[in-house]
Symmetry: D2
Subunit: 282 residues, 4 copies
């Protein structure tokens, strides 16, 4: 399993090259970013340079976010398809095989109608991504407050998400498995052990404050090891099922973090070391 | 457009052969029934006899109901697949190319999760039916009382149903277009004119009591011409878009009707004549 | 049925606006062109201007060609997907709902393997086009010399093409029905009458020299009415099944035609008038 | 990886219970059989008895064959769908999650057309099997003589088969990976290492005579360890990628084998022990 970072929790990481260099320096093997950043990087420096840069730093691109807007109108979705092909081309050119998106657990739309629209739109996205050898990971979102933030319940648990993946009917769709969401849906180690490693496209790691699970807020996370999420179960579970992909840190916070990126990278490195050691890994 | 009947509104129609003979006698060109009835008929009388009987009476099988239970558990759904293949084989053997099912507009399940499950199940059904050359028609159900009969809203209007059909992603899925439901979703003639005839797999005709649309009850229908549904718009709309399929009468009633089938067939024949004449058809 | 033109047979038609204006002047209601031309036109003149221009001239865009290269390597195919989304966006913006591609009847690849690859690629294309409300028409290619031009037979008849469309499993895929290919596969009027209008996305009209069918060359066509194709059967067949789309003239020739476009437009107008009159149309 | 047997190479194995008991006695953890056998067994002895019998003997059902005839006419295919649902129901009831079929490497049909038909039919089969939680494994068939036994080449190598699986577009389709076929397409250990364990639904083991690869006959196999197939590479490759499924012995022979089943089971047990030991397994 490869340790990775997202920008959430690292402050201002600078250019893509600074981001990669820092990740490398602090022992990370992957960075998550946007397809646009990769496209711009390739356009500016050339594909050969970008590829070599990643190779020299022993860093891979963990995942890109799904930029196509599938949650709103058909026009808005359609407008994002050209961008999606460009994101996918850039990601594939740099060896990235993963693209992820989050599922908000409630919606102001009629939930059934929105599910029908979303299913079709995500299937088109998956079809396009598949042409570039990229898998699509759907992230169920657990925090209870989001289940009633919008008018109608959508889905938030792993089981419903897996059913949805079956319905989307594309072999390249799986889960973005985030510890915060596994925790807030009261997930257990057994839930992870029931999964097949191939069902997990990407993973996120973080920690949660010691408040009742129903009060845990989505954008108020802690660094791994600072909170109460059973990360030993999380990590051992993923290891046991043979997951060999990336586990990226994602620390959403209410205010932008002000500390310098170097400091936050160092903090993150220690956080990973702490929880990996506790889980008997590495 | 072929005039047809369902058993709803005809009382006790007797055996399948009596049903067909009566339909023929009263000027109908199609009867709707179950796949099981057709299978039993073929088993008892032989396929050649059954085919000839239909041909001699100039009656076709309009549609069979989708017997697979897609609204409940996965086990229950799965148990119905063998029956579905047998229904489809019998229907196809007798030249029937249509299978229909209704969509309840609310559900006690989480609506999004149920939509995901239903989409997959209906796609499997459509795939199986397609192997037999049969199209699947989904019937949106409009009466307002059913929208809140179960805990969570599902879908009930034509537009959402068409979106759902796109999501199911099988070319052999379309609408079962029922006048009662078109009326109770406040459908207009323009709504019909926007459709492509190929989007309609089967149609139902009936009439509604003169009560506010929001109070119209699903199981309290009238015979065509007895009520307030703008059947001229309905019939002219279907005609104008080139629909050449079956329009079957379906009169759901709160109590089983007691009059003899003969009387009800005669009543139905007159009902069709009245509304067809009013629409300038035939 | 709307009379249309492709550039094949019209010489140098000038800019897109000159092309449209000429088409309009000579009684045509549609022009076929490339998605790139439309994108450039919109970029230069603005969408509102382009839309109005089409409206004022009472000309629609009949179809655009499928620019994604699905017949070669996976890399080449993938490279064409961004272009495809841009083509589709431009076409959809101008009300065009059709995109077409031709099927070469032989291949140097293993025919089964190529069929598997092509099926997947065309399904992705259809999925992308569907997001823009565009249908994909596949053109079977009949001339016998092309069946052995490459090493292995692929498909060339209507029946196999319809089977392939079923396999691609997208409701927005149908036929590009070309008179030259219908003629060279020895198609009959009955073959057309068996079709559903919704199975035809676009049509082409032309004529063939009076040589044995097996010797008819793909790139040596005549203007409608100059040859021996039973165009009365062709046109009456399409009319009878209710086809309401575009029939565009496509005259592939061994040498580029040198006459001025005006002259060729006039010739084409007369050609259409002749064969339409002979078929009792218009 | 679980050692299993097919009937090919075991002579007359008796009833299903004798088959299972013998397999158990000789150290095998899985038996492959037909869905019909399982359905009959459940009908005669009851599901509870059958389940317990398997559990007591520590034997699972490895796989059932795909009984639907997808290689011939549409009618013949359709006729097999009811049987398929019954096979699947029986297999699923007994915990079997695998169904397999072989791909003949040549065909008398037009290869492209047959590929289109086969793709659709196998997708329907996969859809049906998926409803029962069963995966479909496609077996590429390598022996060179079969590539020209029928008129037109179809597909026979792993790469084309994997492309075909992508085209079938169902997440529950993978490979039936047979050592004999891997050998006769000159497969290497690297080819196995490139696979994901989840791409292999089931595996077969056997051995080949010491003749040139191009002369190896499909129905003239040897027991594992008796021939020249690099079974150490085969087994180590599967182990290395984390394949945890069944590897069943399949010894097709020109004449029915006459030795008693007991003797052949013992021979098979020794054969597995020999090649597993050589590969450093178990």
């Amino acid at each position: 399993m490869i340790k990775g970072v997202t920008k959430a929790g690292l402050g201002n990481v600078g250019t893509i090259e600074q981001y990669i260099a820092s990740a490398s320096r602090y022992g990370f093997g992957a960075v998550d970013c946007s397809g646009k950043e990769l496209e711009d990087w390739i356009a500016q420096e050339g594909l050969e340079h970008a590829s070599s840069y990643l190779q020299e730093h022993q860093v891979r691109i963990g995942t890109i976010g799904l930029s196509a807007e599938w949650r709103q109108s058909e026009d808005k979705f359609r407008e994002g398809l050209t961008r999606l092909t460009q994101d996918a081309a850039a990601a594939a050119a740099l060896g990235c095989q993963s693209c992820t998106t989050y599922i908000l657990p409630s919606t102001d739309s009629n939930a059934a109608h929105f599910m029908a629209l979303a299913t079709r739109r995500l299937r088109v996205c998956a079809d396009i991504l598949e042409a570039y050898g990229i898998r699509l990971g759907l992230e169920f979102v657990g925090p209870h407050h989001l289940r009633s933030k919008w008018a109608n319940p959508f889905i938030w648990d792993m089981s419903s998400t897996l059913d949805w993946i079956d319905t989307i009917n594309k072999g390249n769709v799986g889960l973005l498995f985030d510890a915060y969401h596994w925790y807030t849906i009261s997930g257990t180690k057994e839930d992870i052990l029931k999964l097949n490693a191939s069902q997990i496209v990407h993973a996120h790691i973080n920690d949660a404050k010691a408040v009742p699970i129903s009060e845990v807020l989505d954008n108020d996370r802690l660094y791994p090891g600072e909170g109460v999420i059973p990360l030993t179960d999380f990590l051992q579970g993923l290891q046991a099922i043979g997951y060999k992909g990336v586990i990226s840190q994602e620390i959403l916070m209410p205010q932008p973090v002000t500390a310098p990126a170097e400091e936050l990278f160092a903090k993150s490195q220690l956080a990973f070391q702490k929880v990996y050691a506790a889980a008997g890994l590495e």
